[in-house]
């Protein structure tokens, strides 16, 4: 057994050895990739190779549609900045997003709302799927833009992006998906899905932090968030991050190759963890969609036990997970995602996200299955709340 059982891969992933190797060599590729001299051209060639790998991972036929950014938050902010620009000049201003987006989308949308844009946060059902009736109703001719995450980071629910993008297109609205958690875990195709913009991040793919990308369909408008030089066709200024981009290229190349075997293996481990925990611990609620769910993500609620106490008890056993409890986030509000699914505050405060990954083993899953039941039992014994079994369809 390793010193730590890491089950927080949705937060971030370790650098895989092949990527580390390529990046270590890339420390010597120091030339400015915008320079015309030989060293500059060599660096540029590496960057374009990486761009092609990233494009291939998300099914983009033209690598020129991929723009490197500092990560998922910047990619999402760039799209919202673009819509701010369009909306302020045009007649269409309405923005649709969902109640379960990542904070960088939530806060970008909130900023546009402050600036006078009509913003609608579409509700989700108890499994975390966007309510399609609300979507149909809200997708009016004045809708400028729709942003729906491909898969949720907390509960793993996979949204019907293809269908929703098609509906937006028919209405003449732009469609963006934050695919940060989806890329590398499920098949992602910008052409099949028919999206205008797609956000991705490298550090969820066993690559380095501080690098991400934005796919922009050819012909779709884009306004820079970072203005300056001519890098990235003037869409994103700043000297090329050679090291990050080269690492991203390798991580993307490997993720594309690994996807089928990775998802099958990790899905089996997730099912094993789910089976072991739900059979050994009474009154467990499985959050998220029963089938349309990321193969690595298992979100459980343990009524009667508080999430931060569970997390820290596991931490003392060397097991690393995350929670939707308010206490862990430093606010009084528990996970907005779980609240949006209607589970109620107790189940949101008592939730734990296990996100498995490439290096998770069956031995680790069984270790967690052995360590968690006494922790829950102990916290429930000292709890003022009784662990009432919630009605649970999945």
């Amino acid at each position: 057994m390793k010193d730590f059982v890491y089950m927080d891969y949705n937060a971030t992933t370790p650098l895989r050895p092949e990527v580390r190797e390529v990046m270590t060599a890339a420390f010597d590729i120091y030339a400015n990739a915008s320079s015309m001299h030989e060293a500059g051209r060599r660096a540029r060639a590496e960057i374009e190779k990486a761009r092609a790998s990233v494009a291939a991972l998300v099914g983009a036929p033209d690598p020129g549609t991929i723009y490197f950014t500092s990560g998922g938050s910047e990619s999402n902010n760039t799209v919202f900045m673009t819509m701010y620009d369009l909306g302020r000049k045009g007649a269409r201003r309405k923005i649709l997003t969902t109640a379960i987006e990542h904070p960088c989308v939530m806060n970008s949308a909130a900023y546009l709302a402050e600036e006078g844009f009509p913003v609608v946060y579409l509700p989700v059902d108890s499994c975390g799927k966007v309510d399609m009736d609300s979507y149909r109703r809200e997708l009016t001719p004045d809708t400028l833009f729709v942003s729906v995450m491909a898969a949720n980071n907390e509960i793993g629910t996979i949204e019907d992006v293809r269908e929703m993008a098609g509906m937006a297109r028919a209405q003449g609205a732009f469609f963006h998906t934050d695919a940060t958690q989806a890329v590398g875990k499920i098949p992602v195709s910008v052409t099949d899905w028919g999206v205008d913009y797609l956000t991705m991040s490298c550090h969820k793919l066993y690559g380095p932090k501080g690098i991400g990308a934005l796919y922009v369909r050819k012909g779709a408008p884009i306004t820079p968030l970072v203005r300056g030089g001519h890098q990235e066709n003037g869409v994103r200024a700043g000297t090329y991050n050679n090291l990050g981009i080269i690492g991203f290229g390798k991580a993307a190349e490997l993720a594309a190759v690994d996807l089928p075997s990775f998802s099958a293996r990790v899905r089996n481990l997730r099912e094993l963890l789910k089976k072991e925990l739900t059979s050994r611990i009474p009154h467990v609620k499985v959050n998220g969609h029963p089938t349309d769910v990321l193969p690595n993500t298992l979100n459980l609620s343990f009524p009667g036990a508080e999430g931060e106490s569970i997390l820290l008890s596991l931490d003392l056993e060397g097991i690393e997970v995350s929670t939707g409890s308010a206490c862990a986030s430093g606010s009084l509000e528990p996970s907005h995602v779980l609240i949006a699914t209607g589970v109620g505050p107790e189940l949101a405060h008592g939730s734990i996200r296990f996100s498995l990954g490439k290096y998770t083993t069956e031995e680790e899953v069984l270790y967690v299955a052995e360590k968690l039941p006494p922790i829950i039992a102990r916290l429930r014994r000292m709890s003022t709340l009784s662990p009432v079994a919630p009605a649970c369809a999945n």
Binding site: G304, S309, L312, L316, C327, R381, M382, S383, T384
Partner: protein
Amino acid sequence: MDAFQWLYSDTVKDHFTNPRNVWNPDEVFVADAEGVVGNIKCGDQMMFLLKIKDDIITDLRWKTYGCASAIASTSMLSETVKGMEIRKAYGIKPADIAAKLGGLPGNKIHCSVLGDKALRAAIDQYLEKRGRAGEFKGEDSVVICTCLNITDKDIETAVKAGARTWQDLQEATKIGTVCGGCKVKAEELLHEFVHIYF
């Protein structure tokens, strides 16, 4: 104390993993007074049970739905007040308990106030049952937040200790985190005390 270290201070870890005086539901514990504060909406709830003889806390138990800081600080509080005269126990402040634990990170202080509030609620109940209601509150103190039993004196103390905004006040006392009905009155007092003292 940094974010990495806090859980691993031996004292916090000890009280979190092996809390003292927790009420095991299998144990028969006949209490003279009970206090419950907090609300599951905010993610934590606390209960104190006290045995009191001649105004001395002879034994006590507690339970919580709460985070590690709430568990560790309430465990420490329970050890501190066992055998203590109720008037003295009533005056114990969360900061005293945090200090005994070797300090808590700033964002964890608010988690540690519930134990103190529950203890005071239990003592209040004891006094009330004996026709001594409000004896320790001081003649001029008024309960502002009825959910958490927070008085104007508590707000004054928090302001003196540095609270300037509603958020500061909530972090220091947890006021208004249950029903929120006291917010207008409490904010008036907050501004008044800030005006008086600073």
